[in-house]
């Protein structure tokens, strides 16, 4: 379990994370989403004590990370795939990390086999591909068989087999009752892996809810409609304030209303409709809308000033 309370971090004058509070629950995979520079990595670095919060605090399994006697048994973290000396072999890197906790070499061999690094374990890490580096980072995170896992962009650079493996690993660990906190840029992957989502933007939490709720609640309903009188239907829908887009001569995509409403409007206007397909809202749509929401909020903020200025000129 990870609990952040009023967590914030400034780098000089720049605010990376401002006053963020959230809880990552055990037993499920919690996804951490946000645009580049939103503060995801900074937040994760603060969780494992690499960066000191400017204000607020974050505790893992009840204590600040640095106060755990055996931190690698509490938290496994993949923060940066290249947090390894390039001239050392993967095996020796893991052995050095394991030694700090008295973790036996048998466990080192276990995580090497588990992450499929067996063939390259004795080779210098400097020659590793991005994907191999990721596997090594995950192996290091798993060394202490930790209660909580923090994975920053774990599927970055992995091959399809590796992506699938990370997905099963994350879900499997959560099913065992562990806390799994992972960030990713790949929305489709996140939609498949995560149970719960925390969305961060501009250093603040935008959403913190189960993934299903975010997709259903935030993503707008879209419906594909085929009709031989598209212009009439577009006009009729527009009268009700519904926007629609003509994709092909006889194909429309209608946003924001239930299919039944579309059928009703068509019936009233005597328009033949021969396809009415609700489209599944995707996490990507929901995410875009969430982050777009922040942008819209900003421009609305500016508008009153503008209208005020025009009104002033009018006088």
């Amino acid at each position: 379990m990870i609990e952040a309370r009023g967590l914030g971090k400034n780098y000089g004058a720049k605010t990376a994370v401002s006053n963020v509070s959230f809880t990552v629950q055990p037993g499920k995979v919690t996804g951490f989403l946000g645009p580049n520079g939103a503060g995801k990595s900074t937040t994760m670095r603060m969780i494992v004590g690499l960066d000191r919060p400017t204000h607020g605090e974050v505790v893992v399994n009840g204590k600040p990370y640095s106060q755990h006697r055996a931190p690698l048994h509490e938290v496994g973290a993949l923060l940066d795939a290249k947090a390894v000396h390039t001239k050392r072999s993967a095996y020796n890197h893991l052995r050095a990390m394991a030694a700090t906790h008295g973790i036996p070499n048998s466990r080192v061999k276990e995580v090497i086999d588990m992450t499929g690094l067996g063939a390259v374990a004795k080779k210098r890490v400097g020659g590793f591909s991005l994907g191999m580096g990721q596997r090594l980072g995950i192996a290091a995170a798993m060394l202490g068989d930790p209660q909580t896992l923090i994975l920053d962009e774990p599927v970055n650079g992995l091959d399809p087999e590796g992506v699938l493996w990370v997905r099963h690993l994350a879900k499997g660990l959560a099913a065992e009752g562990r806390t799994v906190f992972l960030s990713s840029h790949l929305m489709s992957e996140m939609a498949l892996t995560a149970d719960h989502l925390i969305v961060i933007g501009k250093g603040q939490i935008i959403a913190d809810a189960p993934i299903k709720e975010i997709i259903d609640g935030r993503g707008q309903i879209r419906t594909r409609v085929r009709t031989d009188q598209p212009q009439v239907l577009i006009g009729a829908l527009a009268n009700d304030g519904v926007s629609s887009q003509q994709l092909e001569p006889e194909l429309l995509e209608v946003t924001g209303v239930e299919p039944r409403q579309i059928a009703y409007t068509a019936l009233q206007n005597n328009v033949l409709v021969y396809e009415l397909t609700p489209l599944q809202a995707s996490l990507e749509d929901a995410y875009m809308q969430l982050t777009q929401g922040a942008v819209e909020y900003q421009s609305q903020d500016l508008e009153p000033e503008h209208s005020g200025a025009t009104a002033g000129e009018g006088k």
Binding site: P71, K82, A83, N92, H93, T100
Partner: protein
Amino acid sequence: MSSATINTPTHRSTNNSGGVNFMRVLKSEWIKITTVPSTVILLAITVLVMVGLAALGAWSVTMFADMTSSVPEGVDMGEVPEISAMVASVPGSGLIFGQLLIASLAVVLIASEWGTGMIRSTMVAVPGRIPALLAKQLVFAVIAFLVGAGSAFLGYLVAQPILATADLTLSLTDDGVLLHIINTGSVLALVAVLAMSIGTLIRNTAGGVVTSIGLLMVLPILLQLFSNIAEWLQDAYRFLPGSGGEQMVATQIMDGDFNQWQGALVLGAWALVLLVASLIVTKNRDV
């Protein structure tokens, strides 16, 4: 151990082994230092060069002895070191070179962790940070001591047949010889701590190496060059880390110079102050 079992759900693995302690961190740092091949190669080179320079030093002393013995009686040679003191300082002839290599390596060992990102793995495993730094310092200081004292002892052995050609003798029981050999190691150990602290503060290999070498080797030259400008510059010279090291291995103390123990205090104080500064800064700064 009980606290670990209380909040441990059933799935917790059996290898929860009690957590971080200093002995374990020492072992980890030992693994880290010995598993980067270039480090081991550089240490071997240091030993070879230091022993080679001791042989060269022995040869040079025999030449000097030949020269002085051919000077006729009554010719004033000015102030020259006693020949016995020169012989006694043969084993540590390569100390300057040893300092150069050990200081550079000490900086590389810590700064490369920042350069490669390894430091994040290190500090995640040992979030107290200070034990990790102290362990690395201790492991490398011991290695530097063994390299220095070991090279000096090998130099002592290699010098024997060379010195014998000029009927000069060098024995461990001679005045100051054993201390000279041991202190050749002590100087390298203290230089290692000093340079690694600088590397920890600067977090950059090139910058750390330049700063360390500048402090140890360039600053004394500069001070001597400009010592005529002000009297206190000459006095300050004695308090430089390099001068302290020089006195530690001295086999003859000139008038007004620090003795071996005072020299050790000077170099030791520099190393300690920089070490403490590096620990405080690393503890408080983001990694």
